[in-house]
Symmetry: C2
Amino acid sequence: MSSKIRLESAATEAVQKNGLKSLSFRTLGAEVGVKSSSVHYHFPEKSDLAQALIDRYRTGLCSDLKHLSANSESAYSAIAEFVGVFIGYCNEGKLCLGAMLASESELLTQANRESLTGVFNEMQVWLTDEFERGRDELTVDLPSRTLAHCLLSSLEGAHLIARNERSDDQLLSVKMLLDSWFSKVN
Amino acid sequence: MSSKIRLESAATEAVQKNGLKSLSFRTLGAEVGVKSSSVHYHFPEKSDLAQALIDRYRTGLCSDLKHLSANSESAYSAIAEFVGVFIGYCNEGKLCLGAMLASESELLTQANRESLTGVFNEMQVWLTDEFERGRDELTVDLPSRTLAHCLLSSLEGAHLIARNERSDDQLLSVKMLLDSWFSKVN
DNA sequence: GTCTATACCCGGATAGAC
DNA sequence: GTCTATCCGGGTATAGAC
């Protein structure tokens, strides 16, 4: 695989764990066996790296979500699987890339920030559509869009809080809330 | 006021805006008119500064919450005011201190992390008690503790997401969710 | 308690050879 | 595309005078 791709993978992993600020061109290069100058060749400035990571994350996300919609037997199961992704991150000591970068927004360019907004929108639109698809089984009468916002916010917040502790309490509560929104949780 | 106190205030502000990692002893000192060596006199290492900030935040929080409980006419109004604090942060481009530090957990010591957990617990216990106080007006039958977890998670997540964008959508949705939990929202 | 001065390290970034 | 070498700025931290 090309160096560039391997750099992006390693960078994504590192950013989800410790943030962009903590990631240096030197250590990133070392991770895949090249020097910092080579990293600069692919990503001239740090904001270029950030942009690549955000774009890459969004692309992967889109295809994952598309798959999830197509292969799930119900809106509930699709959304529950989405929640599962976050629980997975949590177990690896990672934050969602979007959340981590959002917490470091002072080092992002305007373009970075706009793309990041796009990532969150992608998730919220997908969630909104899924809640709409499961309308009939919903026990709450809030707009789908509101439910989508709330679920995403809870997930991002929960695994931020959960990072410090050694319990899944936080995410489990969110899961309970989600379940309470559906009449059939099979 | 003593330098130490002023340093703590300035540091809290800076950390909520840009994080601990971005805050240098030099710029912090400059903020209150002393040199970096003087900052080191009060806080030998960065983790000492972090500890002071966390302790200070918790103390302020405790007294604020006590006041809120005592002076509110209902559980709903107390909780709504709590939500208001987060909306206020958001308008100032700040994150809750706990959330910001949680996102930077790689630079915290074990002691820092434990104290930080205490801060989140403080909020969750208070919220749990308030939901318990408002039991009669609740329209959801989830445990108060679960509601507390979910509300706090949503708030932390919402203003993380909201930081990038120029809209309050995210936090408004959380407010709508909260309102939907109470039968009387007067 | 605060200062000046300084040691030391690490990060981003670039120039130029291969 | 990758390397070596290097510059420069800025960060943490300490020693010692006042």
